[in-house]
Amino acid sequence: MTAETQIKDTVTTNDVVLFMKGTKSMPQCGFSSRVAGVLNFMGVEFADVNVLADEDIRQGIKDYSDWPTVPQLYVKGEFVGGCDIITEMMLSGELDTLFTQNSVDFDKDAADKIREANA
């Protein structure tokens, strides 16, 4: 299976996927850690793909989304953004809206708590 097929398969069979350096329980980069932390705190169920474990995926994900950096978040097969975009969307409430629109369960109170703490 090519990297592209593998990526497509992953993002279409999982509602929320985070391509990251390290894993959600042990991130290996500050940017990946931040996004995984937000999703964990919001109680979002997501699949994590460690790009450091597979050089083909590491390069493949950049080609797939035409986006040069990791982490990359996908919801229902669509590329949402990297660390800076997810952070902005988290704080503005747009991430809540995106999850709601896509029927992805999350803890609204936890999301509000993150915003309160960063207000």
Binding site: G30, F31, K62, W67, P68, T69, G81, D84, E88, M89
Partner: protein, 78 residues
């Protein structure tokens, strides 16, 4: 080869001649850049940041790139 904030700013300036650009960071690897440009008004965040990455001409590209970490903020002038 490490890159400097000044080099990043120069690349961004070439791509966005009329933008308000701020680049911070002096360790040669970790930077924060803010680009405020009128062309962003009709683009979503992904499109805005893609165009910034394009202006950086491959400097972000992992092991081949000079730039390890760049925190990006993009917006249209308010």
């Amino acid at each position: 080869m490490p890159i400097t904030a000044h080099e990043i700013e120069t690349l961004l300036r070439e791509g966005f001649p009329d933008a308000q650009i701020t680049v911070q960071g002096d360790d040669g690897a970790h930077f924060a850049a803010e680009v405020i440009d009128a062309s962003f008004a009709d683009k979503n965040r992904v499109q805005q940041q893609r165009s910034v990455y394009a202006a950086l001409k491959g400097k972000m590209d992992g092991s081949n790139g000079d730039l390890h970490a760049l925190a990006l903020t993009t917006k249209a002038p308010s």
